[in-house]
């Protein structure tokens, strides 16, 4: 018995959902960044699956670009976080809440 392609798509969708849910319920920015990585990985899995289904290498090439984007995003995101926390190093529990909606 072989694995049907749709199982991979299903798994990708589930992973994407978990990532999106985590990003919205967690309030720790580090974990929120990790949830973004989960979502991007779900996309990568979906691209690779479609690439195989269509027998088209294009989908695999796209994964490269997603990797670069993920790396650049993480660098800037963590840079923002570090610059916030370095400004007031004494703070341990510090809500980022000067702007209220």
């Amino acid at each position: 018995m072989s694995v049907d392609y749709s199982w991979y798509l299903f798994l990708g969708a589930a992973l994407f959902t978990i990532g999106a849910y985590g990003l919205l319920i967690r309030r720790n920015p580090l974990v929120m960044f990790m949830c973004i990585e989960l979502m991007l990985n779900a996309v990568n899995l979906t691209f690779v699956t479609f690439s195989r289904m269509l027998n088209d290498i294009g989908g695999q090439v796209v994964v490269f670009f997603v990797l670069v984007v993920a790396a650049a995003e993480v660098v800037v995101g963590l840079g923002i976080l570090v610059s916030i926390l370095r400004r007031r190093p004494s703070a341990t529990v510090d809500d980022i809440s000067a702007l209220k909606g």
């Binding site: 920015p29 929120m32 479609f50 995003e73 800037v76 400004r87 000067a98 702007l99 209220k100 909606g101």
Partner: protein, 514 residues
């Protein structure tokens, strides 16, 4: 030697590898922006002393103006019926009237932002080199989005635009609001990017390509019988773009981020980023997926309706002028969506004209806010504007024109813009939307009129408290406001040139032959 290496690897060396032809003429505006930014970086690193802010302002303005001129230079080429639009670099980008116009608009936006930022950076003591480099690179991302004929190129352009802006939003490292603005913008932006990317993946699965021309060609030939993948992909794309351009219900980050970011950056978000975001939306949804119009039109209708109602309703209760302008930018996104949902060439032209007009009004309005604010970008609540007409009659008059323009008063560009999108909606029989648009622009007018009333009728209490300090207007910012004012009034009185250009600038659908 390389052939030898391939031979060792067992790869046939005569295997055809066609290096795509790079049409440098098509890339000129983009290259001017990127090379200009890199040159600034190198100069800053090599010159031992700190260069003055003025140097960076002049260079940025020159680079961006060069890009605008280079882009408009190819207008005759792409709108010539004999030669027409063309693709470059293996079908990754398209040069048509649309991309030329949007590129030029983005470059002009950068010119005005650089001029506005000049005095701001001096006042706040921020690094002009990094600011200029990031603004230029961010704009280059917007240009990539305008040129893109491939969803991946579009996505990368969006990331170039956004990641530079995350940094710019947090550019004021010693101001807490600025850093929080950057954090929120980053989190929501990355969230939106993930949705967009998932949408791209599903569309790729449903059509077999990421190339917009091939997608349109595939859908025109044989619409898939089972449309689940395609519809899911389109929904995800709309969510992703919806976040980026700030339409209800994806707007919750807009007021916080706009308020917290340094004001010239906010001006760029309201003008350049909206232009690029809508350009991408028009190219992907309206142009490439036009076969599916019956599926996405109702969605756009609902989004436009919500945005038109929520934006002005929230704007009238704000006391902070910068925040009020943020909500007003949401409501303008609703108006532009009216043009999008019309799903016609007329609607696209209307949306383009609206973007053109709104960009200058937003740049002008946020420019005035950045001048009126005290150091540290604080004090832009309504009280600060009270009696401005007595302290600075010229500035108050200019601000009043920008606000009236956003209201849609005749003889300003805002009137022509609203007229053109509502006209497109009526032409495609969206009467309810047209009615709501007219009603909510009346509601929204209260928010703007409150500021105008405060400027002209308010007492000058703030003035007495602060002693004799007047609002300073640096020459560069004055020039930027003058330009924005000139465009706003000119487009209101003589709109025909830009209207005609927008009509000729409908996205072309080209497909690479593979």
């Amino acid at each position: 030697m390389i052939a030898g290496m391939f031979a060792q690897l067992g790869v046939p060396t005569d295997a055809p590898f066609a290096v795509p032809e790079v049409a440098w003429s098509a890339l000129t505006p983009l290259l001017i922006l990127i090379v200009g930014a890199l040159a600034l970086l190198v100069v800053t690193a090599l010159v031992p002393r700190t260069l003055p802010v003025g140097f960076f302002t002049v260079t940025t303005v020159a680079v961006a103006a060069g890009a605008a001129v280079a882009s408009l230079g190819s207008w005759d080429r792409v709108t010539d019926p004999d030669r027409g639009p063309y693709m470059a670099v293996a079908g990754a980008i398209t040069l048509d009237g649309f991309s030329v116009l949007v590129t030029a608009l983005l470059a002009i936006t950068v010119v005005l932002v650089a001029l506005l930022a000049d005095g701001y950076l001096r006042r706040e003591g921020l690094g002009a080199a990094e600011f200029s480099v990031l603004v230029l690179l961010s704009a280059s991302g917007g240009v990539m989005m305008a040129l893109a004929n491939d969803l991946i190129v579009m996505f990368l352009g969006l990331e170039v635009l956004s990641i530079a802006l995350y940094v710019l939003a947090g550019f004021q490292g010693d101001r807490r609001e600025s850093q929080e603005s950057a954090m929120k913008y980053f989190l929501l932006g990355a969230f939106a990017s993930a949705f967009l990317l998932y949408g791209i993946a599903l569309v790729y699965g449903a059509t077999g390509s990421t190339n917009l021309g091939e997608i349109a060609g595939f859908l025109a030939r044989d619409v898939p019988s089972e449309q689940g993948l395609l519809l899911g992909g389109m929904a995800m794309l709309i969510v992703g773009f919806g976040f980026k351009i700030g339409v209800v219900p994806f707007q919750s980050w807009v007021p916080d981020v706009y308020q917290g970011a340094p004001t010239p950056v906010t001006a760029f978000m309201a003008s350049g980023v909206k232009v690029a975001g809508f350009a991408a939306l028009l190219r992907v949804i309206v142009s490439a997926l036009s076969v599916q119009a019956q599926d996405w039109r109702p969605v756009m209708w609902v989004l436009a309706m919500l945005t038109l109602v929520v934006g002005p309703a929230m704007a009238i209760v704000q006391t902070d002028v910068k925040r009020m302008l943020a909500y007003s930018s949401i409501s303008h996104a609703g108006f532009i969506l009216i043009g999008v949902q019309a799903a016609s060439d007329r609607g696209t032209a209307g949306a383009l004209f609206y973007l053109f007009a709104y960009s200058f009004m937003a740049l002008g309005a946020f420019g005035v806010v950045s001048l009126v604010a005290r150091q540290g970008d604080v004090g832009v609540d309504l009280d600060r504007f009270r009696g401005l007409s007595k302290r600075r009659p010229g500035l108050a008059l200019v601000f009043a024109v920008f606000l009236l323009g956003q209201t849609g008063v005749p003889l300003t560009s805002g009137f022509m813009a609203k007229f053109s999108v509502i006209g497109a909606a009526v032409a495609s029989e969206s009467y309810a939307l047209a009615m709501v648009a007219m009603l909510t622009s009346v509601v929204g007018a209260f928010a703007y009129l409150r500021v105008i009333v405060a400027m002209y009728l308010g007492d000058d209490e703030e003035m007495a408290e602060e002693g004799t300090r007047r609002v300073q207007i640096p020459a560069a910012a004055g020039l930027a406001l003058g330009l924005a004012l000139a465009v706003t009034v000119t487009l209101g009185v003589l709109p025909s040139t830009v209207l005609d250009a927008a009509r000729d600038a409908v996205p072309a659908r080209l497909s690479p032959s593979r």
